[in-house]
Amino acid sequence: MLRRCISAEWMKLRRSRIVWILIILPVISVWIGCANYYLNQEVLTKEWYSLWSQVGLFYGEFFLPILIAIVCAYMWRLEHLNQNWKMMMTAPISASHHFLAKWIVVSVLLAFVQLLFLGLYLLGGKWAGLASNLPEELAGWLIRGWIAAVTIGTLQLALSMRIRSFAAPVGIGLCAVFVGLGLYVAGLGMYFPHSLLTIGMGVLSQTSLSSGNMLLFAVMNLFYMAVILLVAIYRMCKADVVA
């Protein structure tokens, strides 16, 4: 049943043009980051690492969280329209399948965004004439970034399910970006989803995570995902819908 729910979610996205939005934002982030790197090469001397610091800063710190919020709000948009909640809740499908199908689709879309970002980063590096080897941490940044992005996606899906307005969860997501930034600066980055993304993608500090921190990173992400999924599914089962 879950597979059929996932294919239904894909069908809903078929003519949504969401792919354009998934493409536009990483392209702009990488473009500006590369231009900034190119113009300041005398200061930014660490080649691929410096380029990552430029392209990753805006993408990982601001635009990816907002992109996630927009995608998640879009996933629930149809349910909030035309009394569709009632139709969905009376279908012979469990609440967990409804939520998990959306969660899996969002995770796949975010993986696509991360891969696109990788491709653009490599292209940008070639354009800037970087000849050195790629950073060995690159795969780690991307995978950890994806895991943290899925955690934020879980939170945003739960918010967008609860709040009918399209823009309000995006606004909350943006406020959370700044809370995350503050917690990261205060050294509490491991305890908040949005600062987990900053740490995971090596946006502000590109030093490798210690094995202890890596474990804490994985545990915190799993914890947030599990708790939010459970609460959201429980709420879907128990609370009445507003269509």
């Binding site: 934002l25 702009i28 500006i32 601001f62 907002i66 927009i70 948009r77 307005s165 399209f166 606004g171």
Partner: protein, 250 residues
């Protein structure tokens, strides 16, 4: 007036002002922290100029997305509730409904900008800056307000014309990006982007010379024509948006 009153009445459970306030707190907190660090490092630069320049730069990033969110929420409630048909059957002109939405969005952003201005004055007084430069702050507020009004006109058109708010919010996000990097773009390019005017209309600009950042007060005679041109663009966007939305099927 009655239509605007009803528009405001629709928000009573929306917590719109709370969201704007949280957003503003994040922006002002960040700007003040940056200014405080700058003052600690360069005590000779403790004054209104760095503060206004920092807030202008931050506004370029924060206000486009905040405007997009506010306008989207105000317009989306009609899309979500399927109330356009209901509204269009009332004995109220479509252009009046459009104007009421525009005015109510302007009220929200006006409150936000007023709070921001008060916070700037309070920060300056607490840090014993020179007497409050009324004329400088007035120019800053005017520039920010005009840019925000134009953005409201643009966002309202998109939010009302396209039911799917993904596009309106993406436009807001792209606008934030342009606002953030506006100063890095050549002036011939940046003048075509509405979002770049948060810094372009700021009364203070920064110049890097002698290994140091200097803050220069812009000549106001250069800003007025820009402000007037921007306002004309805003009115054109409003007019085209109003006509376009009024002519389409509800």
């Amino acid at each position: 007036m009655k239509v605007i009153g009803l528009e405001l009445y629709k928000w009573r459970h929306k917590r719109l002002f709370l969201m704007v306030l949280l957003f503003l707190l994040a922006e002002i907190g960040w700007a003040f922290a940056v200014t405080r660090i700058s003052i600690t490092r360069n005590p000779d630069q403790a004054g209104w100029e760095p503060l206004v320049a920092t807030i202008s730069a931050m506004n370029g990033f924060f206000l486009p997305i905040l405007t997009a969110i506010c306008v989207s929420r105000i317009c989306d409630m009609e899309h979500k509730g399927n109330t356009w048909k209901l509204l269009y059957t009332l004995s109220v002109k479509r252009s009046t409904l459009y104007m009421a939405k525009s005015v109510s969005a302007s009220i929200v952003m006006g409150v936000a900008l007023s709070l921001q201005a008060l916070a700037i004055v309070a920060f300056g007084i607490v840090h014993h800056f020179a007497p409050v430069p009324i004329w400088l702050l007035t120019r800053f507020i005017l520039g920010t307000a005009v840019t925000t009004l134009v953005l409201i006109a643009l966002q309202q058109w998109v939010s009302m014309a396209i039911k799917n708010q993904t596009f309106a919010l993406t436009l807001g996000m792209v606008g934030s990006f342009v606002g953030l990097v506006a100063d890095l773009l050549p002036s011939g390019v940046s003048k075509f982007f509405v979002w770049s005017y948060y810094t372009a209309l700021s009364p203070i600009t920064s110049v890097y010379a002698d290994d140091k950042l200097h803050f220069v007060i812009r000549d106001s005679s250069l800003l007025w024509p820009q402000m007037a041109a921007l306002l004309a663009v805003g009115m054109a966007l409003y007019g085209v948006g109003s006509v376009h939305v009024a002519r389409r099927e509800g």
